[in-house]
Amino acid sequence: MSEEKKTVLNVEDLTVAFNMYQKGAFKKTDLEVIHKLSIDVKEGEIVAVVGSSGSGKSLLAHSILHILPKNAKVGGKIEYCGKELDDKYVKELLGRDIAFIPQSVDYLDPLMHVDKQVIGVYGNKERQREVFDRYHLDERVDTLYPFQLSGGMARRVLISSAVMEEPKLIIADEPTPGLNVEMAMETLNNFRELADKGTAVLMITHDIDLAFEVADRIAVFYAGTVVEIASTLDFIMGRGFLRHPYSAAFVDALPQKKFKPIEGTQPYAGNLPSGCLFADRCPYRDDECAGEIPMRDLRGGKVRCVHAT
């Protein structure tokens, strides 16, 4: 990635907490689910956020889009093209400059024809037809209800919605589950095409194989934060090129690598260790790991580990 490319999305020290009842308690307390997360996406670039299920990846997307539930508290900084993305600014951008691709067809109104939904509040019929044609959705699809769509059609409808207004930033939340390999590849190639035209794509997925195929950079998500961001090449080269012990373990656990799991589980959001979140599963742990762990630049990537070299 060359230096002159503009940063479209920049997230710094994002913290998300929910004010809620904990198990067995009668008073609402704050449950912090995303901790000091930093990530950035440049124009023409696909950044994949990978991590296991339940690590809060979707919440990252929802906080950028400002669609978190009312009891969420958001801290830190989110910038779009260098300007702070506050409630007011995001309203101007959503559906036009920033598009969201949700996980499934459940995100469509069950009682509305898909063409009207894809047109949304900003589009028009001609543009919708044009986009549908591009994704091989013929005119019969226009007047179908979401429950009548097949998995692949639903996926293409959701992507069509996202590209209606030619956005500068696309945030895709698990765009591939439920699709067979060919369909998944087709979807990812669609993203690649969009990125090659200059769109910045933030793709959230638990499928690292697919991330390998199209992403320019990969961010590894663990226990509510990003522990490492590095170029996809580093991940393909293997653990020796990675910076964080969790990313290394993550790659080792892949079927085509050593298929080797590591001990332990991700810590629960309500019960986090004070220092490094990975410390209790880490083979290199020492006293330094109990302190504050900043995100630092290392060999062209970023890592949140004091020992990484």
Binding site: K91, F100, L108, D109, L111, M112
Partner: protein, 336 residues
């Protein structure tokens, strides 16, 4: 089409079974009640001799076995002979059709007003969940739902008729006015208070339902996605919320015919409104068996018609049911 025909047939069978069951139960309740049809016919102070009484009872078939009496009553009903009302000294059919025409206006107005008002208020308070408007309307509705109908009727009567004198205190037409001079406005004016009372009561159901359903929908994924695509609150309500709530709300409103009917009977008594409700009470008090049975059968038909319309509407308007993807029971499992 085949499926539709099947539905129509099965609904018709259900209707027939319901009517048979209602007639049997009503009939046997009445003949086992302490009401003596003969005494209520001739009056308690009658000087009729015992022989004459026996003769009439014999002629009426009062000594026949219950099953035989039931069958002869059913036979007459089918032939169109509903008997004569003792209370009104007129054929039951005439009494019911006249009374129903009064009550029908009352129920139709109530049904429309409570439906629209409940729907709109439910949407507003659901959108502002936890806000002052939501809290006030929610507690008001819960209060109304727990209060007896006649008590609310009396309250409305005291406030609007006695204290403020805005509306007449009762009846369907002005007292002492010749029937041919009674205008449409007179009737409407007299209907106002019972309609207000009934609307307040019926509204709470539909309002609480709409509110609950809205909160459910507003937290669903497709609303989240609509937000993410830049739709504002107003667009979300107009484009998605109303569409998704209207159908279940209309269904609930149709299914509420039974409560509407029950509430009407009480409200009519409070306002001395000459509808089917007051006729029912009069029939019960006077031991007017033919009228009582006639009303029981008619009200069963009325309530069943409401439920039937609810079922049919769901099938017509929800594309998922129309295509047979999910069944009516399916959608109702979580709406009730």
């Amino acid at each position: 089409m085949n499926k539709k025909m099947k539905n129509v047939i099965s609904e018709s069978i259900r209707m027939a079974l319901l009517l048979i069951a209602v007639s049997i139960i009503a009939f046997f309740l009445v003949i086992n009640s302490p009401i003596d049809p003969l005494t209520s016919y001739v009056g308690p102070e009658s000087t009729l001799s015992q022989e004459a009484r026996d003769e009439i009872a014999e002629y009426w078939g009062l000594y026949d076995p219950p099953a035989e009496r039931f069958m002869s009553w059913v036979g007459n009903i089918v032939r169109g002979d509903w008997g004569d009302s003792i209370t009104y000294k007129r054929p039951v059919k005439d009494v019911i059709s006249e009374r129903f025409s009064y009550s029908f206006g009352l129920m139709a107005c109530t049904w429309v007003i409570s439906g629209l008002l409940g729907f709109v208020v439910g949407i507003i308070s659901g959108m502002r969940e936890g806000g002052w408007f939501d809290r006030i309307t929610k507690y008001f509705c819960l209060m109304v739902k727990s209060a007896p109908t006649f008590w609310i009727g009396l309250l409305v009567l005291v406030i609007f008729a006695v204290e403020l004198k805005w509306f007449p205190i009762g009846m369907a037409v002005p007292l002492g006015k010749p029937a041919n001079e009674v205008t449409f406005w007179d009737r409407l004016y007299h209907m106002a208070l019972p309609v207000i009372t009934l609307s307040i009561i019926s509204m709470s159901d539909i309002m609480l339902y709409t509110r609950q359903k809205l909160i459910e929908i507003i937290n669903s994924d497709f609303i989240l996605y609509a937000r993410a695509r830049g739709e504002n609150e107003k667009q979300i309500v107009l484009r998605h919320v109303i569409r998704n709530i209207a159908l279940p709300a209309i269904t609930v409103q149709f299914a509420s015919f039974s409560e509407l009917f029950g509430g009407m009977a009480l409200a009519e008594n409070v306002f001395s409104y000459p509808g089917i409700g007051t006729a029912t009470t009069a029939a019960a008090v006077n031991g007017d068996v033919p009228l009582l049975l006639g009303i029981a059968v008619c009200s069963a038909v009325f309530v069943f018609a409401g439920n039937l319309m609810a079922n049919v509407l769901y099938g017509v308007f929800d594309p998922r049911i129309k295509e047979g993807v999910i069944t009516y029971e399916h959608t109702h499992a979580h709406s009730h």
